[in-house]
Amino acid sequence: MQIQKHSNANSAHTERKFIMATTDLLAFANAIASGAIRVVDLTQTLSPEFPTIVLPPEFGQCAPFRLEEISRYDARGPAWYWNNFTVGEHTGTHFDAPIHWVSGKDLPDNAVDTIPPAKFIAPCAVLDCSAEAATNPDFILTIDFVERWEATHGRIAPGSWVLLRTDWSKKSFADYAGLRDDGAHTPGPGPEVVKWLVEERDVHGFGTETIGTDAGQAHHFNPPYPAHFYMHGKGRYGLQCLTRLDQLPPKGAVIFAAPLKIKQGSGSPLRVLALIPGNAAA
């Protein structure tokens, strides 16, 4: 009874806070419904054909997406259609948690099940490198490039995703994977700029259209795979295999990217949504 009374005493305060929150959120929901806020799906369809990362064959490989029909209104289940699927944590459009890389292995809250959920919603800055990448599949992002971008669009705000627009998602699968006899040739960030983005701009994470957050030839960098090494080493996140980055404004979009809650998961395929002002240039 005592407890009941206590909660009653607080109810007025709780109710007021709740009403304020619902009012704001309803306005937000209405803005989405009316199109004042537009939702852009940055996700590739999970399909068996979509390229996955290729490691040397003596290493374990990431499982591609596979679908096995359980029933389709037939003898296996007369009134229902459903499937079993298998997939790796790093297949299709996916999220990288800090625990994915050895540099982030001992950080607190470093797995997809323990990352605070508020981290799944964050603003983003979109760096358009599509012109550079169009002529050079080995295009490497530099500090200089970002500073020039900031001169036009302003400083990257702390806690922002940095998304690298390369238009790579528009390529054929063969060009998308970019595999040659000396490995993959796809654009990505150099070591200095990743370290700088983390230390000088305090970014939330790094996202790309390519198969990985790192460049195709990043195993030759120092350190190898810098986007993985520095981002995850400082508890930041990764997104890859994104699409439709060409629909986002350079600044002002909000990313919703919540991975599956896999116990001690290193990442997961997910739906990545961008919220942009309805009047933003497409």
Binding site: R66, L67, E68, S172, A174
Partner: protein, 414 residues
Amino acid sequence: MSAPLVRPKRKNPLARTRLPLLPQGQRSRTAHGLTAAAAEGRFALQVCEQCAQVLYPPRDACPRCLSARLTFKDVGPDGRLIAETTVRVSTDPYFRERMPWRVGTVQLDAGPVIVAHLHGDTVEGERVRLALKLDKSGSAVMLALPAQETPHMHADPHWREMTCDPQYRRVLISDGRHAVGQAMAKAFCEAGASIVFVGIADPWKPYPGMAELAGIERVEIVPLDVTDTESVTELAGQNGGRIDIVVNTAEHVRPGGVIERSNLTIAHDEMDIRYFGMLRLGQAFGPALRFRGADGTNSAAAFVNLLSVHALMNWPAYGAYSAVEAACLSAAQCMRAELRPGGVKVLNAFFGPLETEWFQAVPPPKLGPLALAKAVIAALKGGLEDIFVGDVAQDVRERLDANPKALERELGAH
């Protein structure tokens, strides 16, 4: 001389596909000694251990000395065709469709007189050689052949009925990414297949031999990933009705045993590519193969499995791989029974280590992919069910017959 085989006309889409019928296939348990020999292309008859009499038909006691110790042994197949006749009318549904049909009596040099089906080039009174063949029902029958090769002898309708000759047939090679699949594509084209579909998974991933494969005459590259049910089903939907021979070349060779490995990632891949891959191919292509077993000159003919001989006895250095191959062998036996009603054969080609990347550290003798491919072609032309290709496969087979426990210990010795 037989008339050469002519390229079959395109099928009339308005004509009903004839259902496959089978000749009478019942045999006694003892008579399956002939089936075993026919499956491997050997000519074996019972030989009495007591009095050395060569016997036919198979029986349980020697008619000369009453000994029950009758063992199937390879004997000479040569003899003389002493009488022949042509059957023009039959009440048997299978033979009715194939009249006239020549049969004859052969006096074998080894002793017995045998009633046999006659190849068109055999002549009464002349020398012949007998072959044990598996007929459409999968049972052993005697076929008398001319003593010497004759022109186009493989075009003979009796011969073609009992074999799976790739000539003018349409072939699917399930995986052309590796050396074996590429050698197989080349060999089938040389054997006169009218089209060779070659499956390639993940076409965005380049592979060695890509240009050469695409350059082989009558090769058509098709998207096919045996680990993807949708991909297999889609190809079967498009081309299943015009594929006569399926050759599963999908492979995933990795060293390591059970305890040697620390998780199931590789084992999942092995099972998915080899065992589930085979099941997917069987489920997608099997029904059409079985339905089209009597569909003219280019009827559905065979499903070919390439199996490690270590399916028969585990080789712990490649222990998990051997186990998966054993699963595939078991499934192949099942498919053989399932395809038999269509008169479609399942050929199991057993081999030892190959001259390929994942057997790099294994010392010779190793089998070249082209040698394996040629052996498969020869086996299909002969209508065989089981072949042991190369020294290691034959050695394992012989040691397994002699003393399986010794083989187990020797393969597991460090």
